[in-house]
Symmetry: C2
Subunit: 131 residues, 2 copies
DNA sequence: CGTTACATTTACGTTAACGTCAAGCACCGT
DNA sequence: ACGGTGCTTGACGTTAACGTAAATGTAACG
C-alpha cells in the first residue's frame, strides 16, 4: 500500500501552484507535510486539504476563513457546535456571493449600455471619415 | 447663476466618502477642486467626475483605469483614437466581468450543494438529540 | 571532485486604496 | 486673547497573499 507522497515540485505541477504558495500555506498551518530529512513530502491527506483550500479560494474565502473551516471540519466532524459555526460561516459567505452577483449583474448591464453608446459615437466617426 | 460649490465635508456627506478619499483622488489627478485660500471647493464639474469615479469603481475598474478613461473622455471626446482606446478598455473590462460572473455562478452552485449536505448532517444531530 | 538540479530558511518587497496620526493654519464668537 | 471647529499638508501604517532574492544544503551524475 504505497502512500504515494509527492515532492513539492510534483505538487506544484499537479495543482498549478508555486512552491512559495505551498510553503506559505504550511506556515499558515493550512498544510502539514511530513519531512524526509529536511524536505517536505506531501501525503494524500495534504492533497485532499489542498483541494479544499483551492475550492475555498474559488468561493472567495480568505485563507484565514479556510483554516478555521478546515480545522473545524477535521478536528471533529462530529462536534455539533463547531459544525454549526462552519455552516453559519458558509451561509454568510453564500449571502455575500449572491449579493455580489446581483451587483455584478447591474454593473454589467450599465457597462453594456455605455458600450453601445460608445459604439454609436464611433460609428458616426466612421461615417464622417467616409465622406 | 450660483455655481454652488461644496466644501469637502459637504461632498463627503453627499457621496458617502471620507475627506481622505477626496484628497487621495485629487492627488491621483482624478479630481481638481478650486481653492478658496487654502480650502478646497468642489464645483459641479467635480461632482460629475466623482459620480463617474464611483460608478467606475462599481464596475471594478481600478482608479488608474478610471483616470485614463476620464482624461480621454473630456480631454477630447472628439478624438477618435483615444475614444477607441476607451472603448477597447471598457470592452475588455466587460469581458472580465462576464467571466467573473460565470465563475461566481459556479461557486454559488457548489457552495449551495455543500450547504445542503451540511444541513443534512445537522438535521441528523437534531434527530439524535431528540431520542 | 565539480556541476547541475532541486531543496531549504530568512527576510524584505509588492499592490491598491485608503486609514490614521501629527502639527499647524484660519476664522468665528465671546 | 482664547477656545473651538474645520480645514490643510505630510508622512507612516494597514491588509492579503504571495513574489523575489540571498545564502545555504544535499543528492545524484559523470
Amino acid at each position: 500500500m504505497p502512500t504515494e507522497t509527492l515532492t513539492i515540485r510534483q505538487m506544484c505541477e499537479r495543482f498549478d501552484v508555486t512552491p512559495r504558495t505551498l510553503r506559505f500555506y504550511e506556515s499558515k498551518e493550512l498544510l502539514s507535510p511530513v519531512r524526509e530529512g529536511t524536505r517536505r513530502l506531501f501525503t494524500r491527506k495534504d492533497r485532499a486539504r489542498l483541494r479544499l483550500i483551492l475550492r475555498g479560494k474559488r468561493f472567495g474565502f480568505s485563507l484565514e476563513d479556510i483554516r478555521q473551516l478546515l480545522d473545524m471540519y477535521d478536528s471533529h466532524g462530529s462536534n455539533e457546535p463547531q459544525l454549526l459555526r462552519t455552516y453559519d460561516l458558509a451561509r454568510a459567505r453564500l449571502a455575500q456571493m449572491t449579493a455580489q452577483r446581483a451587483e455584478l449583474d447591474v454593473a454589467i448591464g450599465e457597462l453594456t449600455i455605455q458600450l453601445a453608446e460608445g459604439e454609436a459615437i464611433l460609428a458616426s466617426f466612421r461615417r464622417t471619415a467616409a465622406e
